[in-house]
């Protein structure tokens, strides 16, 4: 997966404005299809093209800051609340769960700075998950 080397690229396409909700769907789609990380990354790339690059870059930066969260299983558990991910009929529920967690982060002030951007912890963890999957 080609990652942009341009540090400023993360938000140049206003990634977060459209990226995160779509990312949730992408991850769920990928996880539904397979639990093999390489195939998931391939699927994500097809879905989001350049936005995925930015997400992965952000995820890597997050993991540099918080290396102890570098486990896909742990991140899946935190982001999706340990719900079964493979069941396609649960997608709407899981999507709502991620958005709820993100909202909770903003209300509680659980933000983290990545490349200067103040993002919700849940957003950052989603990106970290994408980054881990992309290196599979």
């Amino acid at each position: 997966m080609k990652i942009s080397k341009n540090k400023g690229a993360i938000f140049s396409r206003r990634w977060f404005l459209i990226g995160v909700p779509s990312m949730v769907g992408a991850l769920l789609f990928g996880l539904r299809s397979t639990d093999h990380q390489y195939e998931l990354a391939d699927c994500l790339r097809d879905f989001f093209k350049s936005n995925l690059d930015a997400s992965v870059l952000m995820g890597r930066k997050y993991l540099e800051k918080v290396p102890e969260e570098g486990s896909a299983a742990w991140l899946v558990d935190r982001v999706f609340g340990g719900e079964g991910l493979i069941m396609s009929d649960r997608f709407p529920l899981l999507n709502a769960q991620v958005l709820r967690l993100r909202q909770q982060d903003f209300v509680r002030g659980d933000l983290i700075v990545i490349d200067g951007w103040l993002v919700a912890r849940t957003e950052a963890r989603l990106c970290a998950l994408a980054a881990i999957c992309s290196t599979g």
Partner: protein, 528 residues
């Protein structure tokens, strides 16, 4: 009446009921209050109607931080520093007047309610409309204002003066006045007192050509700004070796100035037009700027100072240091006030030329706005060691030049960082977008404090307190221990909030004029 010092025979003694030294916004605001009364007023100004280099050089001094020059951040001309100002007007907050446990040396001896009537009266002075600083008092048409969580963030509203240049706006009225005499080119060099130092007997005046006279009055008001007021008091040491009003070594201490850091930027997740209340300035009922600041509750909970952030400079491509510097240079050209680090800004533009060119191209082609920069203005804590003293060097009039030793502390950096964080929380919660923080705010204090902009808000050097051990002037702006010497200046601010000081300077000046009129009416003008 208008007179020039050179027209007055040297050695003359001028007389008036009230002598006001300094014809900037404070001095002129006060003088206007006496218009048409039975009191004779002498308004003394060092400068003339045009800026003069030799006169301006009297302001030279040493700023040990080196990030702004003392003679470039204030103006010695009729109208004072209103010659160059941005026109941003806002009153101090109620909480700014209170003693706050987490801000050492905080607290005024007056409340917002005491000053509010004078804020209202000051509005026309700055050609502003009604005294309305609540966001709910304005009609933004179809533009939205955010339903903020009041435990975190609140709206801040500045009204914009044209900006009023006092030297232009009020010259005619003062010239035509029968009881106010405006004297230009006259520099106050010493305040003489009786042997006890309890009452002013005269003020020495001098010009750059060696002419000397003095003035005798019932009451004297020093209205020379946040630095020069303290300088004149410290230089008047004939009967009081430490200077006037300085029994407790407070004159010149607690210097404050608002740091204006580039705080980062925002990108919107909604159509920018929805949030135009935050970036447009012209509305049906007047010109304003709408921003945000930490609520009083958040300030206390987080242990921070007062602060404001506002949108600043639209972005079509993405935030970049080159564009930040280019905007600073553009603002400098607009305001006719050059930053000291011009070379640094030019270098940053060149180093980041690809982003600058892309952003410029997108502006020229009117690409849609995607975001804005954020500029902060934070309160600084009043710190005794931030002080001005007299240097060994003297100016052309024989007055010691000023040496300013001060710094911006960790609390100020933390205040801006946490304010931006609160804004990010609210932008995210409300689904409006995301906030970028200037990463210098996350570094050590030295790194961020070297990258601040300053706008000449000099305050605090003759602070107000009812206790002479903690303040130079009392609640009526009279110098403790002196019967007839007053200060009308931002130098009396014990704390400074986030608000640009000029409106408060005007309000305090009008309040002081009322006080002096009351004394005069009671026949006790020189009794304090």
């Amino acid at each position: 009446m208008l007179a020039y010092f050179e027209e007055i025979p040297t050695g003359s003694r001028l007389e008036a009921d009230i002598c006001i030294i300094g014809a900037g916004p404070a001095g002129i605001a006060m003088a206007k209050e006496f218009e048409g009364t039975d009191l004779s007023v002498l308004l003394v100004e060092s400068g003339g109607l045009e800026l003069d280099k030799d006169t301006q050089n009297l302001y030279r001094g040493i700023n040990e931080r080196g990030d702004f020059k003392l003679h470039k951040s204030r103006f010695r001309i009729f109208g004072g520093t209103s010659y160059v100002w941005g026109g941003w007007c806002a009153p101090l907050d109620e909480s700014d007047f209170q003693a706050r446990a987490w801000v050492k040396n905080s607290g005024w001896p007056i409340k917002l309610a005491d000053l509010a009537p004078f804020y209202r009266r000051a509005q026309p002075l700055f050609e502003l409309g009604p005294y309305r600083y609540g966001v709910d008092q304005w009609n933004f048409g179809t533009a939205e204002t955010l339903p903020l969580d009041g435990a975190k963030l609140r709206h801040i509203l500045w009204q914009l003066s044209p900006p009023t240049v006092f030297g232009t706006a009020y010259l005619g009225g003062l010239q035509a006045s029968k009881n106010i005499r405006l004297l230009l080119h006259a520099n106050a060099t010493e305040i003489a007192t009786d042997t006890l130092g309890s009452s002013v007997t005269r003020i020495s005046l001098q010009d750059l050509h060696g002419r000397k006279s003095d003035v005798s009055a019932g009451a004297y008001v020093i209205a020379c700004g946040g630095i020069e007021t303290a300088r004149l008091l410290l230089a008047s040491s004939r009967n009081q070796p430490r200077g006037l009003g300085n029994s407790h070594d407070l004159v010149g201490r607690f210097f404050m100035e608002h740091p204006h850091p580039d705080a980062g930027g925002v990108v919107f997740s909604v159509e920018p037009d929805r949030l135009r209340a935050y970036y447009e300035r012209e509305f049906d009922s007047g010109s304003i700027i709408l921003g945000w600041g930490p609520s009083a509750e958040a300030q206390e909970r987080l242990g921070i100072l007062n602060c404001s952030v506002a949108l600043h400079g639209s972005i079509r491509h993405e935030p970049s240091e080159g564009m930040d510097s280019l905007m600073k240079l553009a603002r400098a050209i607009e305001s006719r006030r050059w930053p000291d680090d011009v070379g640094g800004h030019v270098w940053r533009v060149l180093r980041d030329l690809d982003n600058v060119l892309r952003e410029s191209y997108m502006r020229v082609t009117e690409s849609p706005v995607t975001g804005f920069g954020l500029i902060a203005r934070t309160e600084v804590a009043p710190v005794s060691s931030n002080r001005l003293t007299m240097s060994d060097e003297k100016d052309e009039l024989g007055m010691p030049r000023i040496k300013l030793a001060w710094n911006v502390g960790e609390l100020e950096r933390l205040t801006v960082e946490r304010t931006v964080n609160l804004l990010a929380q609210e932008f995210g919660r409300l689904g409006m977008g995301r906030v970028r923080i200037n990463e210098l705010l996350l570094e050590d204090n030295d790194a961020w404090s070297r990258n601040l902009s300053w706008f000449g808000h000099h305050m605090g050097t003759t602070r107000m307190s009812n206790n002479p051990r903690t303040g130079v002037v009392d609640a009526n702006c009279r110098i403790h221990g002196m019967s007839n010497l007053y200060v009308a200046s931002s130098s009396v601010f014990p704390t400074c909030g986030y608000a640009n000081p000029t409106l408060t300077i005007g309000a305090l000046a009008i309040r002081l004029a009322d006080h002096i009129k009351g004394l005069a009416g009671a026949g006790s003008l020189s009794d304090g």
